[in-house]
């Protein structure tokens, strides 16, 4: 039954693609979005059923692709990701009904978007190498085309598309190499067979495959140092697309690392997982630092995705490390913490990206220095953004708090195990978690405070109004889930535990929830998020009531106190750049901001300044120090190499001879 539903999901997605390609303009958005919502709903049903029952949904056909079989087998672990994608997809498509910007109404975009969503839904179900790579590439290409939707209108989109194309293909190349290596060495391309035979492969094959998989999946997840496409591609993509990319596509990077490292290869030596933890720690710190000092809202959210992916990888790495040293229960706890963070990140990041698009449509810009005062002008979208921001900052009573707590607990309880690698890695992990937690709170105080609160800094912000109903319903559904999962995480945790338990070799003694609370089995540790919410509301109500009773006069609306200054303008309000300035100074060595001062003088005299403009740019350190030099080096090599084929037939014949000799030597 579930197999049939899985096929139906795929077919519905294809129907959406066809609708987007064929339908006339009037019905195009509505029809393709509706069919995509239907596909997501079917995917949700399949995923939920597989999670609940534990029976995999299997689809196998050899007639679809020549020379290879198309095989899907959705187990509980994959089902979790399908459910996440389905929920985010539904909300993004609802949002799209009201979204009237950036070329998403074109035939190309309307047909590619359902295809993208379908590939996202099916990748976790792929069960052999060919199917996986086919769906992975489909996902990559469709997302690239969607990022380029607006390329005719803005040149930054083209640059973003180039970076994205190169990085995604580099990652895909690493993936193909790794997976094909495993498949050829194991003698079969089916994941199930590889999982059984991989234990007998030589260590260098396993390690090479794992490192290649980490590179490939890490670049898709946006882990540092392979993240450089994220801050460029996410802001340039249209709203629903960037929400899907950040909340559904990067999850598949984490899915891949766990699937290959723990599923296909059944765990490995400690250095694998220390590598993953190291990448995670680096991503978390780098991403949180850049989002804290970024003034463009969408770029801030993109770097925040890198930050959260780092936290997920920290959890995955810790889990692998515990499994390698024999602590199976702890390994499952760490994996559950990481997967729970995947779920919650999808919910709040999806909501934040959709809200950011609402803000863009209402106020005309995502530059925080041009926003302000939007909470009063957007009475529904504003609080939705506020909820998303508080959730991502891991503040109670929202969901980020629960996953952050679980991650901290898994690190804490891993410490006394006595292993040296763990003893060094766990305190570093906690330090990284703490620093990124603090920086994320800083970042979203900035985003909410500068963007939504205070006075509007431009005329466009002043004229902003509430966006259409589909837009805030889409973003609002995810925001409501932030609150619901934060107060009642017991709704989600058992499913996540089941999903993590599907990875072979891990089992947990005892449930992770006790009633309404989160309880660690076997060790003293309890979290009562529902109680915290009730306490906050209860005490808050009492305090507000007390203040109301004590009040003797009505509240007086006045001008803000400005030291008696006569000319108080909105220019005196803090901007995002000024808000982040102390932090920029503290981390100056890491960020290396470039400052340019441009002074223009009056025509009459060089001693009088007419205007002084200061440009401060904080660009990505990896881009500046690794990628651009590499790019320049490649261009230089290319220039050298272009001189080699000079048109002489003799030289080409010589090439052929040398190549033949080399091949003969190698084969001998």
């Amino acid at each position: 039954m579930t197999a049939a539903l899985l096929v139906a999901t795929a077919l519905m997605g294809l129907a959406g693609t066809a609708a987007g390609a064929i339908a006339p303009v009037r019905f195009r958005i509505a029809l393709s979005s509706a069919l995509t919502i239907a596909a997501c709903a079917l995917g949700f049903v399949v995923g939920a059923e597989v999670l609940h029952s534990g029976h995999a949904a299997v689809v196998h056909t050899t007639t679809l692709m020549p020379l290879a079989s198309f095989s899907l087998a959705l187990d509980r672990f994959g089902a979790l990701f399908v459910v996440i994608t389905a929920v985010v997809g539904i909300c993004a498509m609802i949002f799209r009904f009201g979204y009237d910007g950036q070329g998403l109404a074109s035939r190309t975009a309307s047909s590619i978007l359902p295809l993208f969503v379908t590939s996202l839904l099916l990748v976790p179900a792929a069960s052999n190498v060919t199917t996986f790579l086919f769906l992975w590439e489909l996902m990559a290409i469709t997302s690239l085309l969607l990022v380029l939707t607006d390329h005719a209108r803005r040149s930054e989109v083209q640059v973003a598309g180039q970076w994205y194309a190169v990085m995604t293909q580099l990652g895909a190349a690493a993936l193909i190499l790794g997976l094909v290596l495993l498949a050829t060495r194991s003698g079969s391309q089916s994941f199930a067979v590889i999982a059984v035979r991989s234990a007998h492969l030589p260590a260098w094959v396993r390690s090479t495959a794992f490192v290649l998989a980490v590179v490939g999946f890490g670049s898709k997840a946006g882990a540092v140092p392979l993240h450089v496409w994220l801050p460029r591609a996410h802001p340039e993509a249209p709203g629903p697309v960037s929400a899907l990319m950040s909340a559904a596509m990067v999850n598949l990077g984490v899915y891949g690392i766990v699937r290959v490292g723990m599923g296909l290869l059944s765990g490995g030596p400690a250095w694998w997982w220390l590598l993953v933890m190291g990448l995670g720690a680096l991503s978390a710190m780098f991403g949180s630092l850049h989002s804290a000092t970024s003034k463009d809202l969408k770029r801030l959210l993109a770097y925040s995705t890198t930050d959260n992916v780092g936290l997920m990888l920290l959890g995955v790495g810790a889990s692998g490390l515990f499994a390698d040293t024999g602590h199976r229960a702890l390994a499952l706890l760490a994996l559950v913490a990481a997967l729970l963070h995947v779920v919650f990140h999808a919910v709040f990041k999806g909501s934040l990206f959709l809200s950011a698009s609402s803000v863009h449509q209402a106020a005309g810009s995502t530059d925080l220095d041009q926003l302000g005062g939007l909470l009063r002008r957007m009475p529904v979208s504003g609080p939705i953004f506020l909820v998303g921001g508080l959730a991502i900052a891991a503040l109670p009573p929202f969901c980020g708090f629960v996953s952050e707590w679980l991650l901290l607990q898994s690190m804490l309880h891993g410490l006394p195990s006595g292993d040296v690698a763990i003893a060094v890695a766990m305190p570093i992990g906690v330090g990284v978690l703490a620093l990124t937690g603090g920086l994320t709170a800083f970042t979203f105080t900035k985003a909410i405070g500068i963007g939504l609160l205070g006075l509007p800094r431009t005329q466009d912000a002043e004229r902003a109004g509430e966006v259409g109903r589909p837009m805030w319903i889409g973003a609002g559904l995810l925001a409501v889930l932030c609150l619901v999962f934060g107060v009642a995480p017991f709704l989600v945790i058992p499913s996540v535990v089941d999903a993590a338990g599907a990875v072979p070799g891990l089992h947990l003694a005892g449930a992770l929830t006790r009633g309404w609370n989160v309880a660690l089995p076997g060790v003293p540790g309890m979290l009562a998020p529902g109680l915290v919410a009730i306490g906050l509301v209860g005490f808050g109500g009492l305090v507000a009531l007390g203040r109301h009773l004590v009040q003797q006069r009505p509240v007086r609306l006045t001008e803000a106190w400005g030291c008696g200054r006569e000319l108080q303008t909105v220019r005196m309000e803090y901007t995002a750049t000024s808000f982040g300035e102390p932090l920029t100074r503290v981390f100056e060595d890491v960020l290396s901001p470039a400052r340019d001062v441009d002074v223009s003088h009056l025509a009459e005299s060089r001693y009088y300044t007419e205007a002084a403009v200061i440009h401060t740019t904080i660009d990505d350190a990896f881009e500046r120090r690794v990628y651009r030099p590499a790019d320049r080096m490649l261009v230089r090599w290319g220039a050298v190499a272009r001189r080699v084929p000079n048109g002489s037939v003799h030289r080409y014949l010589a090439f052929g001879l040398v190549a033949l000799i080399v091949v003969l030597v190698v084969l001998a």
Partner: protein, 165 residues
């Protein structure tokens, strides 16, 4: 740690401020304020154009000699935190609007204390070209402390009357 050093610390711990005298419990405004404030008075000092002679006396009322803080009297930075204004000097033309804004910023019910002869009736600066008028010409004044400058003990007596301590 010599004996003299220990004696000096001991002297400091046994604080003996100067004798202030009884507070002025005068006008109805002051009595009403005292009943409302009951031992807690925060004021925002505004220099509306003074020569700083009164400022020196106001600074010294918070020194260990007069120690006005023991009566619950404090100066605060934001007028929103205050019960009223402590204004010195005649109001110059440039300070008239800021003084009015500061007065508006104080939550109701608010008092204004005019310290020194200049604040009461422009003092020696009466008729000068830069002076708008006395403080009472710009904001309503509830308590005046005469003197050029007033004795710190007199300032403390007047403020004690307001604070009700």
């Amino acid at each position: 740690m010599s004996i003299m050093r220990l004696r000096a610390i001991g002297r400091r711990l046994r604080a003996r401020p100067a004798d202030i005298g009884d507070p002025d419990r005068g006008t109805p405004v002051v009595v009403a304020a005292a009943k409302r404030l009951r031992g807690s008075l925060q004021l925002r000092h505004v220099d509306a154009g003074s020569c700083n002679g009164c400022e020196i006396e106001i600074a010294s009322i918070f020194s260990p000699t007069y120690d006005a803080e023991r009566f619950g009297i404090r100066l605060e930075a934001s007028p929103r935190h205050c019960d009223g204004l402590l204004v010195t000097g005649p109001v110059t033309r440039n300070m008239a609007a800021p003084l009015r804004k500061t007065f508006d910023a104080v939550p109701q019910p608010r008092v204004v204390v005019a310290v020194g002869d200049c604040a009461r009736d422009c003092g020696v600066f009466r008729g000068a070209y830069g002076v708008e008028g006395a403080v009472s010409d710009v904001v309503p004044v509830d308590l005046e402390i005469p003197g050029c400058p007033p004795d710190p003990a007199a300032i403390v007596r007047a403020l004690r009357g307001l604070a009700g301590t």
